[in-house]
Symmetry: C2
Subunit: 136 residues, 2 copies
């Protein structure tokens, strides 16, 4: 049921500086910064052979990573994201098993244009987990 690991998201205070570090130290293949105002972040993708790192900097007010960065001013691993099949039946199954879905639990359109939900860390070994519906 769990598809590929789509991303490891790392919150950073300055995404341009972080991108330079990944490029300079590791010759990593990094994208240009992409503002995602609907999601309150500016993203840089670090492309790996099998998955990607997403470097996230807060954008605008009430960014979802603002609180995390207050606690972790240098940044840190914020969440991991998996590709899954149909989201609604999986969400309902997870709820039956006692997993808290963040927010109102309704899928939102994520940064990749697909529906996503987030599972609360308290029910998932302390890890914030994003599930992204990738079908067809």
């Amino acid at each position: 049921m769990l598809g590929p690991l789509n991303q490891v998201a790392i919150a950073v205070p300055d995404v341009r500086e972080a991108a330079r570090l990944w490029q300079d130290r590791f010759d990593a293949d990094v994208s240009e910064p992409q503002p995602e105002p609907d999601h309150g972040v500016t993203v840089v993708f670090v492309n790996l052979p099998n998955t990607k790192i997403e470097l996230l900097e807060p954008l605008g007010e009430n960014s979802p990573i603002e609180g995390f960065l207050k606690k972790n001013p240098k940044g840190g691993i914020h969440h991991i994201g998996f590709e899954v099949g149909e989201l609604i039946p999986l969400r309902d199954r997870l709820r039956e098993k006692g997993v808290t879905i963040t927010g109102d639990g309704e899928p939102r359109i994520g940064a990749h244009g697909n529906p996503v939900i987030f599972l609360h860390p308290k029910d998932c070994n302390g890890a914030l987990i994003e599930l992204e519906e990738v079908t067809g």
Copy 2:
């Protein structure tokens, strides 16, 4: 220079319980628990199509994840691991660029039987990063 993401390691207080959760909730393909006394952890591998999650429980005294679990009793994402080529020239290059290697900086044989080093989170956007030499 950065190869595939080999693992996302999640520290957990009880690796058997964590394995059951991943299996029960996600039908995940989980291994039997493997004690790694040389590394102070018991590991369960959650196999994904493109990489793996490693669930780590402290084993014995002075486990390297003991302090992390004291701060994060429910667990949390502990580190991410990348496959790289020759480790010594890369380590020396990283040091020149101001990256702190944990411990004495000498590669140790990691849980997969290959030499590994860890980069200090303070120099890596708050993320603890393992580099594993995979050659030939």
